[in-house]
């Protein structure tokens, strides 16, 4: 069987598992902008909440395009390098190699044609984004059909695409793409004399916006389009393929608080997914439940556990103005260590839980309390966007009598809660002070989270 045939079969098999909404989105991405006639412009916006496979939709559209077109190209743009890496991995998983797909980075040292990774720097004197590339590397970039890179680095892909007869633009992760970044990218199209056949936007408008001090720069490009065109309807992906249903319930509670237009439904394949079931298959060995940490936190049957930390100490300001809560950090670290010790597969592989928190000060605090082999298992919620983990522990830090919760109160930034909770696949443990977030503050999304009917509530001991 030829390589082409193998890829085609794989793509068709994967496509056959897509639901109708996903297929509809794929077809729309492959539409041309003018295909409905002169009076209509086709711009598919795919609203894909966590776990609904928006990147799969994007890469499936790319795959279908590659199977049907030997010329022309697609420029696949994401906000982060991580997302471009994920998209490239997804296409490689379908069988496409470096001759079809290349990822462009700003690191000139990073050059590996066989992996389809090319780094180049921008030369302000010549105005070229492909400075330092050899003739061979330039030729390669002109021939490869799919180029992935970040929006800020889009000049690299667009400069490489300029010799192609046709190109299409797909923008992934649009929650972090505000109108200026989007329009800056469009302006670069003109700079390289490109006239794309199609444009598409993929993302979840409720997820975290780009980090900015300016409220006017927080709305993403999809919000902006909706403001300009109130009657426009995006493609809405409703089925999620990531989370246990209890976690999905919590995520839906948070979507309600964020005024989402629709709610997620769990696909059968993940509805009852816990740490001991496929594909994780961990065994729970209660090695040392310890007197400080409640056993029920670890019980795999409780997919969603909320630990009330009202009895613990208060938050503090760290150098640089970030926040930390030593007691909560200690509890998060102990829970992470316990998860790591007590869950392992038949092959002896230990579970690596992920601790997420909104504050870099708390990240540092928790890392200092973790053993060296687990120190990398803690990061900020911002950094976790676009990723998924079997087991997530979230530390919200705040615990004060006034119910003050800093930027978590901000309408857009409070999507931190939504993003953090929706990273978990099989187990989610949330550490939050009920007193601060609910009794005093009554902050809508935390109330919704706390009152999720499938949540298992535990009180932390001082």
């Amino acid at each position: 069987m030829s390589a082409y045939r193998e890829i085609k079969d794989r793509v068709e098999e994967r496509y056959s598992r897509f639901d109708q909404l996903q297929r509809q989105a794929v077809e729309a991405i492959l539409d041309e902008w003018s295909s409905a006639g002169d009076e209509v412009f086709i711009l598919p916006v795919v609203d894909g909440p966590p776990g609904t496979g928006k990147t799969s939709v994007g890469t499936m559209a790319v795959a279908n395009y590659l199977l049907e077109n030997r010329e022309g190209g697609i420029t696949y743009l994401c906000y982060t390098h991580f997302a471009t890496d994920v998209a490239q991995g997804s296409l490689r998983g379908l069988g496409f190699g470096f001759r079809q797909v290349a990822r462009l980075t700003p690191n000139p040292v990073e050059r590996d044609l066989r992996r389809g990774v090319i780094g180049s720097s921008y030369d302000p004197w010549s105005g070229s984004y492909l400075e330092g590339l050899s003739a061979n590397e330039r030729r390669y970039l002109q021939e490869v059909q799919v180029l992935l890179c970040t929006l800020h680095g889009s000049g690299r892909a667009l400069e490489s695409m300029r010799r192609k007869q046709e190109t299409r633009i797909i923008v992934d992760e649009f929650s972090q793409v505000n109108p200026p970044i989007f329009f800056m990218t469009l302006q670069r199209l003109r700079r390289f004399n490109l006239n794309p056949l199609g444009y598409a936007l993929l993302g979840d408008p409720l997820q975290l916006p780009v980090v900015t001090t300016q409220p006017l720069l927080q709305p993403n490009i999809a919000d902006y389009i909706r403001r300009l065109r109130p009657t426009y309807h995006a493609h809405e992906l409703e089925f999620q393929f990531r989370m246990h249903n209890d976690i999905c319930e919590a995520v839906n509670s948070l979507r309600r608080a964020l005024n989402a237009g629709f709610y997620l439904r769990s696909s059968d394949s993940v509805r009852d997914r816990d740490l001991t079931s496929d594909p994780f298959n961990f065994r729970w060995r209660e090695v040392s439940s310890g007197e400080e940490v409640s056993r029920e936190i670890f019980d795999p049957q409780h997919a969603l556990v909320i630990v009330d930390t009202s009895n613990l100490g208060r938050e503090e300001v760290t150098v640089g103005g970030s926040k930390r809560n030593r007691d909560e950090a200690g509890l998060a670290a102990r829970i992470a260590i316990e998860f790591n010790r007590s869950f392992q597969t038949e092959d002896g592989i230990h579970l690596t839980p992920m601790v997420l928190t909104p504050y870099s000060g708390q990240v540092r605090e928790i890392r200092n309390m973790l053993p060296p082999d687990l120190q990398e298992c803690c990061t900020t919620i911002y950094r976790s966007q676009g990723r998924e983990y079997p087991c997530v522990i979230v530390s919200f830090v705040w615990n004060n009598p006034a119910g003050f919760i800093g930027f978590l109160e901000d309408f857009r930034l409070r999507a931190q809660t939504y993003v953090a909770c929706s990273r978990a696949q099989a187990k989610l443990v949330v550490l939050m002070s009920r007193h601060c977030f609910i009794d005093v503050g009554g902050h809508a999304d935390f109330v919704e989270l706390y009152n999720t009917r499938t949540a298992h509530l535990v009180r932390a001991r001082a």
Binding site: A28, W125, Y232, T379, R383
Partner: protein
């Protein structure tokens, strides 16, 4: 300058104070302080208020001295001219090169330096050989270990300007091309000017004077140790063109007045919508385009007939320019105020500045090994690897006076950090850096320039279009604009089927 109305000097510059300066205020919206101007900002504002408007709000990063007067348009000629001379002088002082004795020798060194850069022929033919013909003797006289520093950043919160008996203090930051301590001079290098000129190009003379003003206002305690006792007030200011060296008078009331005017535009444009109209009225070219001005393409760009929705598009874009500027102020400008306002131990406590010691510099000048406090090294290493924060500015000297070098985190080993130097044409070595007992410092580089690129991208998109209906109809970018801002319908797919109640259950 034409049409310049009388400007009232700013009596007190609004710098960040208290909790804002200490970083204890959640940054949001309009900053409660004025920008921290650079020398380029002040020169641009002085050259033309409309040009500084373009620079500050639309991200137009044109160098007013780059192509004026119908000269050669290859980008970077002036910068490469300076970089090569810096490389040449440094290498001679370090004993790596012997001074060239002929144009042929100079040319071969130049070719090695620029390799296949496209502007090399023009730079050599029109500028460098003239410069070389004048400089063989000077190059021969370079003494080993000469105390000459290139690309030195000077910054002060209180640069003093005097005019008509009044004294004003404003912040200012700039980069000195060449600081020659042994010769007691600062040199501003340019490719502008012509053979036989009897005076220096005006912008460069003004630039050298502004840089000297900064140097004179830096408190001795804020200088690197080896520069504490240097009396900058006696320094000579030199503008060096390929064809001539010019002295610049330090006592210059015109420059004083010019600066006070220039400073008034920067806060007005930052804070007040009405300043746009005022800047237009006061533009250097009046209302007639002056196509020799490097800003003319941005001030008088052609407006195409399509997209027809352009007016709405422009109105919509306008709401973004100022927030993008304010974002820059909260990141770049506030940091600059903080670096100059606090001593390094407080900056470290604030989590802004890491201190260290330069352990070694690689032979090619591309890597610096820094010995940092173990905590800091671990913090930098972990956050660089996992949080994507990998770019730093290394400071050799002090924030007020020293070299600032962009670098990216490469690797770490306990308390040692290897930083890779990025995008610097002038080479670094132990001798070319201002190293007070080997000490150095570094801070995280925030990518504020991306906001400037976004400003410029938005601004240039305003000019995109087509003149004929047929070509406009085939242009997807124009049609996208028509559908977002005009009458054209916008749809998610060819046939919008499957309303929510028709979806699978």
């Amino acid at each position: 300058m034409k049409n310049m109305s009388e400007r009232i000097p700013i009596s007190q510059w609004r710098a960040p104070e208290g909790e804002v300066l200490e970083g204890n205020v959640f940054p949001s919206g309009q900053p409660p302080f004025y920008p921290f101007p650079t020398v380029s900002d002040v020169i641009t504002a002085s050259f033309c208020p409309r040009a500084i408007f373009q620079r500050v709000l639309h991200g137009v990063n044109t160098d007013i001295s780059a192509s004026r007067g119908g000269g050669l348009r290859t980008k970077g000629l002036g910068t490469r001219f300076h970089e090569f001379i810096a490389y040449l002088k440094t290498s001679i002082a370090e004993g790596d090169l012997t001074p060239p004795r002929s144009l042929a020798e100079l040319m071969s060194l130049f070719r090695l330096f620029v390799r296949d850069w496209e502007g090399a022929d023009n730079l050599w033919r029109f500028y460098l050989q003239d410069w070389g013909n004048r400089k063989f003797e000077e190059l021969r006289q370079i003494i080993p270990n000469a105390r000459t520093y290139f690309e030195t950043t000077a910054a002060s919160l209180n640069v003093r300007f005097n005019y008509e008996g009044e004294e004003y203090e404003y912040p200012l930051e700039g980069i000195i091309d060449e600081l020659d301590l042994d010769g007691e001079r600062i040199i501003e290098r340019t490719i502008r000017g012509r053979p036989g000129d009897d005076r220096p190009p005006a912008q460069e003379a003004y630039q050298a004077w502004l840089l000297w003003k900064i140097l004179c206002s830096i408190d001795r305690n804020n200088r690197p140790e080896e520069l504490r006792n240097v009396d900058f007030t006696v320094f000579n200011l030199i503008v060096e063109t390929p064809f001539e060296n010019f002295d610049v008078e330090t006592n210059n009331p015109d420059f004083e007045r010019q600066s006070l005017d220039a400073y008034t535009w920067i806060p007005d444009i930052t804070t007040d919508w009405r300043a746009e109209a005022e800047a237009r009225r006061s533009s250097a070219c009046g209302f007639e385009p002056d196509f020799s001005c490097p800003f003319s393409i941005d001030c008088y760009g052609r407006i195409w007939q399509y997209p027809e929705a352009r007016p709405r598009m422009r109105r919509s874009f306008r709401e973004f320019y100022r927030p993008l500027l304010w974002e820059i102020m909260w990141t770049r400008d506030l940091l600059e105020y903080q670096l100059l306002a606090f001593p390094s131990n407080i900056l470290r406590e604030m989590g802004i500045l890491f201190s260290g010691r330069v352990a070694s510099i690689s032979r090619d000048g591309r890597e610096v090994e820094i010995e940092a406090q173990r905590d800091d090294a671990s913090y930098v290493s972990v956050f660089s690897r996992h949080e994507g924060v990998g770019r730093y500015t290394l400071i050799f000297g002090t924030p007020s006076l020293g070299q600032r070098v962009e670098a990216s985190f490469s690797q770490s080993n306990e308390d040692r950090l290897i930083m890779r130097i990025a995008g610097r044409g002038v080479p670094i070595s132990q001798r070319t850096l201002i190293l007070s007992g080997g000490s150095g410092a570094f801070f995280e580089s925030k990518p504020w320039f991306l906001n400037r690129l976004a400003q410029y991208g938005l601004f240039r998109l305003q000019f995109v279009g087509r003149g004929r209906r047929e070509t406009a109809m085939a242009d997807s970018l124009v049609q996208l604009m028509e559908s977002l801002f005009g009458q054209k319908a916008l749809r998610r797919e060819r046939n919008e089927r499957l309303s929510r109640d028709q979806r699978p259950s």
